[in-house]
């Protein structure tokens, strides 16, 4: 279980990072953020999470409620995909792709930071609905 303020803190930093990525069209900053997403999703050593635990959490009280880790991991993996697309876009001379990917990542991070927006709640079911069609029994050929 997680302190839900940790991911909000991380999303705030992520928001700033993607504003900088867009402002400087920086492939390498996007790559750095991709590494952060990967570390946060797959290990216990997400850099922003460590910052939160070391410097922020001790100044706040204990959390009022705890959050399941799956929604956070899902959001980090979605962020990772957009960060990689963004990196590749800028690196390979397709800045439009870079901007679109950074724009989506910025929207998701900002909505999480400012509103506690739950990306998994919005897209996971839609994806499952779309990708997981039952085997059709009434195909007319």
């Amino acid at each position: 279980m997680l302190d839900p303020r940790g991911p909000r803190f991380a999303a705030t930093i992520t928001t700033v990072v993607f504003i900088l990525v867009l402002a400087f069209s920086s492939a390498w900053l996007a790559l750095a953020q991709a590494v952060v997403f990967a570390l946060t999703a797959f290990t216990r050593y997400g850099p922003y999470t460590l910052l939160y635990r070391r410097f922020v959490a001790p100044r706040l009280g204990p959390p009022g409620e705890l959050e399941a880790p799956q929604p956070v991991r899902f959001a980090q993996i979605v962020g990772l995909i957009f960060a990689i697309l963004c990196f590749l876009g800028y690196l390979l001379g397709a800045p439009i792709l870079g901007m679109i990917a950074a724009g989506f990542a910025l929207a998701a991070a900002f909505l999480n930071a400012a509103f506690g927006f739950c990306l998994g709640c919005e897209v996971y079911l839609l994806l499952r609905r779309t990708l997981n069609r039952p085997p059709s029994t009434d195909v007319h050929q």
């Binding site: 839900p4 993607f18 504003i19 990525v21 867009l22 402002a23 400087f24 069209s25 492939a27 409620e65 959050e67 399941a68 799956q70 929604p71 899902f74 959001a75 800028y90 690196l91 001379g93 397709a94 800045p95 901007m99 950074a102 724009g103 910025l106 929207a107 900002f110 909505l111 400012a114 509103f115 927006f117 739950c118 990306l119 998994g120 709640c121 919005e122 996971y124 079911l125 839609l126 499952r128 609905r129 997981n132 039952p134």
Partner: protein, 150 residues
């Protein structure tokens, strides 16, 4: 042309500046649009709308059923579960039924459930009378149940 952005040598004289300015514009646009979306969601989340329809399964006959669709990647579902379970525990004639939306994709499509949590308020006879998307408050659930009785 665009390839120059890989080599930021002389900002202001190549395409980098143009791309950077466009990037900032994109950032501002995204932040404004996301703010509008977030504010809209905040205003409408948990609002119970009157709907019509019926369901033959997934409700407790003779009781008002709060049918909650949840998913694993969903923190607000947990909050909504606590609220609905509390109402069911303290209100006679009200049941709470939570299902994993993934395990009932046919029903999810038929009822056009798009996000989680979605709560359907089902009258004792199986008529769907209310629908709310996003986390619900205790007051919102109680009001919706009062409307069924009325």
């Amino acid at each position: 042309m665009w390839r120059k952005s890989k080599f930021p040598t002389r900002p202001g004289h190549d395409t980098l500046e143009g791309v950077g300015q466009t990037g900032l514009l994109v950032a501002v646009f995204v932040l404004l649009a996301a703010t509008a979306f977030g504010a809209y969601r905040k205003a409408t989340d948990g609002k119970v709308r009157s709907v019509s329809g019926s369901i033959s399964h997934l409700h407790e006959p003779g009781k008002i059923t709060l049918l909650q669709f949840s998913s694993a990647f969903c923190a607000p579902c947990r909050a909504t579960r606590v609220v609905c379970a509390e109402v069911a525990r303290t209100t006679p004639g009200v049941a709470h039924l939570e299902i994993d939306a993934e395990s009932q994709l046919d029903t999810v499509r038929a009822l056009r459930i798009r996000r989680t949590p979605t709560v359907l308020i089902i009258a004792p006879g199986g008529e769907i009378v209310g629908r709310a998307e996003g986390a619900l408050t205790l007051a919102q659930v109680r009001t919706a149940i009062g409307a069924v009785h009325a």
